[in-house]
């Protein structure tokens, strides 16, 4: 943590500033978390458009619930990802109800990536997509920097369950990526 980051306003402070009408506070808050949330959603879904759509819905919820937000046991980041995971589950239920959702539709069309990065990302996304949703969410959240305790709060399960999901997810991913 740098010198300036140490004295930066906390997430809750920025959110309260926005609740008092300070739009710039929300802009700072959004800039702080937008990429991490988008990557979490994208790596959980493997689809740009869906990640963008869900990310927008998550931020709409944050904006609408700014006035009613009360500092809970969890931090703002934990609350943000909890909302994102709930939206993610809703989206996955809708997709499951659809007639067919082909993994080939997952688009890795970012032209700014090199060919190696694109292949690596495509392999990782493909391997993650084959995981059960609970294992995938738990693994991605851990890779995004959340502790097991925070993952427990976001997913709403116990510590042992989180550990179990992580263990199974790692084993499956190693197997899939080793094969590829």
């Amino acid at each position: 943590m740098g010198t300036f980051e140490k004295f930066a306003r906390s997430d809750v402070s920025l959110l309260r500033g926005y609740a008092k009408g300070d739009v710039t506070a929300f802009e700072k808050l959004y800039a702080r978390h937008k990429d991490a949330l988008y990557n979490y959603l994208f790596r959980s879904l493997g689809h740009y458009a869906a990640a963008e759509e869900i990310a927008q819905e998550v931020w709409m919820v944050v904006i609408d619930q700014t006035k009613t937000y009360q500092k809970r046991d969890a931090t703002f980041k934990t609350w943000l990802y909890t909302v994102g995971r709930n939206k993610l589950i809703d989206h996955q239920r809708k997709r499951a109800n659809q007639a067919h959702a082909d993994i080939d539709d997952v688009s890795i069309a970012d032209t700014s990536m090199s060919s190696d990065d694109r292949i690596l990302t495509q392999q990782l996304i493909a391997a993650l997509d084959q995981l059960p949703a609970e294992q995938r969410d738990t693994f991605v959240l851990q890779q995004e920097g959340f502790s097991q305790r925070e993952i427990c709060k976001i997913t709403g399960v116990g510590t042992e369950t989180v550990k179990s999901r992580l263990r199974y997810a790692r084993a499956t991913l190693k197997q899939r990526l080793g094969e590829s």
């Binding site: 926005y18 008092k20 009408g21 739009v23 929300f26 988008y38 963008e52 927008q56 990065d117 690596l120």
Partner: protein, 311 residues
């Protein structure tokens, strides 16, 4: 660090699309809560109104009714220092006869009016004496040719001022005597007169000093009594603030007439009122009236129907 973590971090971090940023920020600006007004804006009107109210109240209280000092018409304290010192005292009411003859109680309106009248009279007397003094000084100065002392002698002498003070005392005693049932306190302090009249309507305390019996003022007589309807009658004989005097009269009337049954009632206006008993017929009332004429040696002054209000 496991291989999976290394592999995950090697994958490029994606940036959120610009379209998403624009949409979210636009929504945030559109739905931004209104800036909260500071508490000063909430309390400012109430505080300003309270300040104005306190200021107005203080001005009103400061410019309230002025005390009865009368310093404009009174001599300075230094000039009356030679006069006999008068300590606050209660002027007792001793000469009740002269009081009743000079002013009746109904003519005295209030203690404040009495004080104003006294001050006005004192001012008038002082002005008259001052004019007389100036005239005498002017004549003396013209006779002796000393013109310098003529214009600079408006201040009355100590004798004159002492006379004014004495006159004020006399006047206040006279005005106090106008109240048969009032106790007036008159005090002089440092050249200022302060009249604090305390009217105490105490009939018992004045009963011993007021022995006069005032006949009831209603114009009645034998002819008037005969003209009344034959109903229940009550005779109102006399009134006085001295009940003992009325009791004496009642004894005389009772001795003269077996029909006389004295009743005493207390009136706020007349003090005590002596009533006779009630009579069933006019004839009995007339008979008693005729006997009262003889017994009391005075006219029965009032007959009223018992059904009407006596007071």
């Amino acid at each position: 660090m496991s291989d999976l973590t290394e592999l995950y971090r090697r994958t490029p971090r994606l940036e959120s699309p610009e379209a998403l940023d624009n949409a979210v920020l636009a929504h945030a600006r559109l739905h931004a809560p209104e800036p909260a007004r500071s508490r000063w804006h909430i309390w400012a009107p109430a505080l300003s109104m309270a300040c104005v109210g306190i200021l107005g109240l203080s001005v009103v209280l400061r410019n309230g009714a002025p005390p009865l000092t009368g310093t404009d018409s009174m001599a300075p304290a230094a000039e009356v220092a030679d006069s006999p010192s008068i300590t606050p005292s209660v002027v007792s009411l001793e000469d009740t006869e002269s009081r009743e003859e000079s002013v009746t109680a109904d003519t005295v309106s209030s203690p404040l009016v009495v004080a104003d009248e006294k001050v006005a009279l004192i001012q008038e007397n002082a002005a008259t004496r001052r004019a007389t003094t100036e005239k005498a000084v002017a004549e003396t100065a013209s006779a002796e040719g000393a013109t310098a002392q003529k214009a600079t002698a408006p201040v009355p002498s100590d004798d004159t001022l002492a006379g004014v003070v004495q006159q004020k005392r006399k006047l206040s005693t006279t005005v106090d005597a106008a109240r048969p049932q009032a106790r007036t306190t008159l005090s002089f302090q440092a050249g200022e007169s302060r009249v604090a009249s305390d009217q105490m309507m105490s009939a018992d305390s004045d009963m011993a000093s007021n022995t006069s019996i005032q006949l009831s003022p209603e114009p009645t007589g034998h002819d008037w009594l005969l003209s009344q309807s034959d109903e229940h009658f009550t005779l109102k004989v006399a009134m006085s603030s001295n009940r003992s005097a009325l009791e004496k009269l009642a004894n005389e009337l009772s001795a003269a007439s077996v029909l006389f049954d004295p009743v005493f009632l207390h009136s706020e206006v007349h003090g005590w009122v002596l009533l006779s008993g009630s009579f069933n017929t006019r004839d009995t009332a007339v008979e008693l009236r005729n006997q009262l004429d003889v017994a009391a040696g005075a006219e029965v002054v009032s007959i009223k129907n018992i059904k009407s209000e006596l007071f």
